[in-house]
């Protein structure tokens, strides 16, 4: 009985829409809703065999990997350094954290301004080294801008978690370790890092989900709603086909594929990685 409110919420906001998506992925419907034809797996076949789907999927995988890896790596480095700062620590931490408050589309907008092909300061900076960036024209340059913006937006969240994780490690353990081993680098990998693992695992899942779904706003702003030959993520493609293209069946099929993908990913993560994580 006490679970009831939560079950209702889950049903209304998660299960019902998901069921609707699964249903409409098997139908071909005219946008105005005059009629739907059952087409079986046609929508899925059309989606997967389109010349672009593989490219988008590949980009999504690479993008997710880099965003997750870089934002976790940079945040961990900053957190370890910040943990050691004694004086002015709080202002230093605030400085690193404020970006968290920036909404993804705003982050995208800032990215667009910095990377603008006509007046962007970052573009001008790289031009000094002979790299003529053309965001929106060159596939690699646009991917680069997207990744940088997405990482920049995510580092503070990770930073906060890592920092609190580090501060949760008891001083006695660290002191004992520093007596045993003089190399702070080795100390970090053998003692601190394993103790941080629960935090790290949690962040890994959060970050993969972030790179997959929440970067939508950044992608949208950077491609200016006109993707052209620019890289887009799978989630963004769902939006494009559904809302720009009014193709409900095709876009539902894509989102069902994504649902399955996320499900598999979650199972794999819990099965494989969590086994190696020790909760204290």
């Amino acid at each position: 009985m006490l679970l009831l409110p939560q079950l209702v919420i889950v049903t209304v906001f998660f299960l019902w829409p998901a069921a609707e998506a699964v249903q409409s992925s098997f139908y071909l419907e005219d946008p105005f809703g005059f009629g739907a034809t059952f087409v079986g797996f046609d929508n899925f076949v059309d989606t997967v065999t389109s010349t672009d789907y593989g490219r988008v999927a590949r980009f999504t995988a690479v993008f997710t990997f880099f965003v997750t890896f870089l934002s976790l790596g940079i945040a961990l480095l900053l957190a370890v350094k910040a943990d050691k700062v004694l004086r002015g620590g709080s202002s230093y931490k605030t400085l690193l954290m404020w970006v968290y408050a920036v909404a993804p589309p705003v982050a995208g907008l800032i990215g667009v301004m910095l990377f603008d092909q006509h007046v962007g300061p970052i573009v001008e900076f790289f031009a000094l080294f002979g790299w003529e960036m053309q965001i929106g024209v060159d596939y690699f340059d646009t991917s680069f801008a997207m990744t940088v913006t997405a990482v920049w937006k995510q580092v503070p969240v990770n930073f906060i978690f890592f920092l609190s994780g580090l501060q949760g490690i008891s001083k006695s353990v660290q002191e004992a370790a520093s007596i045993d081993c003089r190399s702070s680098f080795r100390r970090f990998w053998t003692v601190t890092f394993p103790l941080l693992a629960p935090t790290g695992f949690f962040l890994l899942i959060i970050n993969i989900t972030y790179a997959f779904f929440d970067t939508f706003g950044i992608v949208d702003i950077i491609v200016k709603q006109e993707p052209g030959n620019n890289p887009v993520t799978l989630v963004y493609k769902v939006f494009l086909d559904g809302f720009r293209g009014n193709d409900l069946g095709g876009s539902s099929a894509q989102s069902v594929i994504l649902m399955v993908l996320v499900f598999i990913l979650t199972v794999v993560q819990f099965r494989l990685i969590e086994r190696r994580v020790h909760y204290t």
Binding site: P31, F32, G228
Partner: protein, 436 residues
Amino acid sequence: MAYRKTVASLVAAAALLGTSSASYAATEISWWFAHGGHLGEVVNQIGENYNASQDACQITPVFKGTYEETLTSGIAAFRAGEQPNILQVFDAGAATIIGAKGAVVPAQDILENAGVEFNSEDYIEGVRNFYADSEGKMIGMPFNSSTPILYVNEEALEKAGVEAPKTWEDFQEIAPKLKEAGYVPLAQSHLPWIFTENFKSRHNLQFATNNNGFDGAEGTQQVFGEPIKNHFTAVKGWLDDGLFGYYGTGWGDNQTPFNEGKVAMWLGSSGSFGGIQKTVEFPFSATYLPYWDAVEGAGTGTFIGGGALFAMAGKPEEENKCVASFFEYLTSPEVQYMWHRETGYVPITNAAYDLAKKDGHYDRNPAAEVGIKQLTLPGGEWTKGYRMGFYGQIRDIMNREYGRILAGETTVEDAFKNIEADGNKLLERFAKTTSN
């Protein structure tokens, strides 16, 4: 609880107040449109002027975002039974809304039912057929109509000692001189619209089977021949030689370098006229969209782009009468001329065009007439327009593949193969949605 009640009663009171003051005996109709900025102000002005011109009807224009967003909200509203009386739909969405039988009342019917005389001959050649069915019955009322034209920076041309090109062959001759003078000779803002749809029209080439798609969605397929492939091969060559600049899919990204005086010539919309006039510091003029002289039968007119107003179905007769009355007002020469003058979009009726001429508008701004003159060039079999479903997505596919050609990621041949494969699959899917 008490608080909630107060709020509810306040809202109710406000609603009552709103209705009683605004629509005393007048029928209210709504109009969803997609123009921001200066254009949006002009749209609101038209609404206000209309309301002031008579007492029976009150129109409320509502801004709904970009073209795509406006269409999507219109569709969502229709499914919920909350559709506006008038919805603005852009060129690429025409097939979607016309294909959905029962979603709209044809503009011609709405006018005739209300006893307003309608003659499609009153409308300009390139405008008449674009939103009509295969028998020429007008479904959508053309509203913001534009066509691609070539804007030139007079200063740049003078420096290079050349004249604006009439054909692409001319362009190839003058482009190196413009480059020598320190300019990027050419840029454009919309590859699917300018270098595909209107390329077809300007050369009088078939764009799709089934009479460019007008005869029905069933079995409609895109047609790409040698001329357009040769064109893209040439464009890629120009890009490599520094004779052409490509700044991505965004409209503004390609127009900005022209406005800044870096690009000598820019292919844009006749509706860009007003904006350019306000921004640029150099003398500029405009001319027709160039064509390849080598293509037989080339040099025909272009068709319109932009958007049209659709009267949504499922509304009471009384409101439809008001829609008719508004359409009549909108197409009157005075209103059309005002719209044309303020925005650069072409007037859609011959009478409005005559009025603009008589008023001396084109003596003052010769460039403002280029678009409409191009639309009235002699037409051909394939210059009426096209009707393809899921066309917004097809345009995205074109942009993707064209972008890849220009970035050197693919060949012209492969790119068109992909456009045909993905595009035709979408057309096939669309045919299935409309067949029931």
